[in-house]
């Protein structure tokens, strides 16, 4: 085995960091949203952020956000916020599955359409979370946080996408797509 053919350590580190960026960004973001910043409806941002990240990376770089990472993120979301254990793991995985299934059709489309599709996916997932928690607690939960979560998701996505597209267009990203 020749040493020359292997990429240098820095090249490997670079590729590894680019590979790990989406997952690290997702998990770290969830912790940051937990800081007591005193924003109104801060808790609503957490699932919205997770959904936006899972959708974006599943669309543009699915190999960087494998299903086990998504499942663990969902569990983390359930533990940080107080939702039934495993609920968001299931929802995020379903979101990822739906995104991967429609990936071929979505990638060539305009950003606006992707945004609309994300909003529809997020609405479905949020409504499912609301329904599941309502059933599990045997009460009708308030609808206002659901609407707030949906608005947060729809509003957050373009901002996050603008950031992530820059990261995605890095030189080492091509082979990961």
């Amino acid at each position: 085995m020749s040493v020359q053919r292997r990429p240098s350590i820095w090249r490997q580190l670079d590729a590894a960091s680019r590979y790990a960026w989406p997952a690290a960004c997702l998990v770290f973001g969830l912790f940051i949203i937990g800081l007591p910043l005193g924003l109104p409806g801060q808790a609503v941002l957490r699932p919205a952020y997770a959904m936006a990240c899972v959708y974006f990376w599943s669309l543009y770089r699915p190999s960087s956000l494998p299903a086990p990472v998504v499942a663990l993120t969902g569990l983390l979301l359930d533990l940080l916020g107080i939702s039934p254990l495993g609920l968001w793991a299931v929802l995020l995985l379903v979101l990822q599955g739906a995104t991967l299934a429609s990936r071929r059709h979505l990638i060539p489309q305009f950003f606006l359409l992707n945004w609309l599709v994300f909003t529809a996916f997020a609405a479905t997932a949020s409504a499912a979370a609301w329904a599941a928690q309502s059933i599990l607690t045997l009460s009708i939960l308030p609808l206002f946080p659901l609407a707030a979560q949906l608005l947060a998701a729809a509003g957050l996505y373009p901002a996050l996408a603008a950031l992530f597209i820059r990261a995605h267009r890095g030189p080492a990203a091509a082979e990961l797509a």
Binding site: G34, P36, G38, G86
Partner: protein, 296 residues
């Protein structure tokens, strides 16, 4: 690294998502079957996160307080003047309070009043705002070493009741706020202490339920905790009655629930809430001092 053939690897990649989905569904079922699992996982995670959050939250708090540490330097003079004036006023009030305390003690002595035991308390920084979409809770970092079981402790900020501890680890405690949907606090309204129940609505102001029909709570009346049900000690300040736009009575909490920074957790011995789901291990701990108390 193990070399796998390309079709096998592709099949494996295609299978991960369904397999993880099945695993997650399994976790949901396990979580439903064993409610303590989520609680123990959550308090374990909280214990891990609390010190990390405390490190990050420190500088954030410094920045937030009145425009930051540097911003404070510019109005030191004015602040000092203000504080001096306030101090003078408070000194007067202190003498009044001392006189009243002496009078109160004398009256208690006449009445053969049995004083309530002073609760153990811990002061902790609120390091994270870990509410869910349908839940309101904060994470409090507590100094390690206190081996009191804090589950069920009453959390108060400087002004009033903020919530109750629902999960506690060695270094952290999760406080369910009074605005949470699952929060129910028995309260007394006004000087007569008319009984009612304060129920969280996930909104800013908890609702008042089950007040006596002939005696609607008066706007502006003080709401204090009541000992009904043994969940809370009596007489802790909670808030003020207010009628909302729908003409339903709500409680405006005294505690600054959106900007909690410091909480005191009062662990009342033998006075832990029955309404809190207490894990089996805690329940046995709780039973011991009670039986001892009965033996005396």
């Amino acid at each position: 690294m193990i070399r796998l053939s390309v079709p096998f690897r592709q099949a494996l990649a295609r299978l991960t998502l369904p397999v993880m989905l099945m695993v997650s569904l399994g976790v949901v079922l396990i979580g439903r079957a064993d409610q303590t699992l989520a609680t123990s996982l959550r308090s374990g995670l909280d214990d891990l996160l609390a010190p990390a959050y405390a490190v990050i939250a420190g500088p954030v708090e410094t920045l937030e307080h009145g425009g930051g540490a540097i911003g404070q330097l510019f109005n030191l003079e004015a602040q000092n003047e203000e504080l001096r004036a306030e101090n003078a006023k408070l000194m007067q009030w202190q003498s009044v309070a001392l006189a009243l305390e002496a009078q109160n003690n004398a009256m208690k002595a006449v009445l053969n009043y049995v004083p309530q035991p002073t609760p153990k308390f811990f002061t902790g920084d609120v390091v994270a705002d870990l509410g869910g979409v349908y839940a309101r809770s904060v994470l409090v970092a507590i100094p390690p070493g206190g081996n009191t079981n804090l589950v069920g402790a009453v959390a108060m900020d400087g002004r009033g009741v903020a919530g109750r501890v629902v999960e506690a680890g060695a270094r952290s405690a999760r406080v369910l706020l009074i605005t949470d949907l699952n929060s129910r606090v028995p309260v007394g309204i006004g000087p007569s202490g008319a009984p009612a129940l304060m129920a969280g609505t996930n909104g800013a102001d908890p609702a008042l339920l089950y007040w006596a029909p002939g005696q609607p709570p008066a706007e502006g009346a003080m709401v204090l905790t009541s000992a009904e049900g043994g969940a809370f000690p009596p007489g802790l300040p909670v808030g003020v009655v207010h009628y909302d736009a729908q003409n339903d009575p709500v409680v405006l909490p005294l505690a600054d629930l959106d900007g909690l920074r410091l909480l005191r957790l009062f662990a009342y011995a033998n006075n832990e809430p029955i309404l809190t789901p207490v894990p089996a291990s805690h329940a046995t701990n709780r039973a011991a001092p009670l039986s001892k108390g009965l033996a005396h």
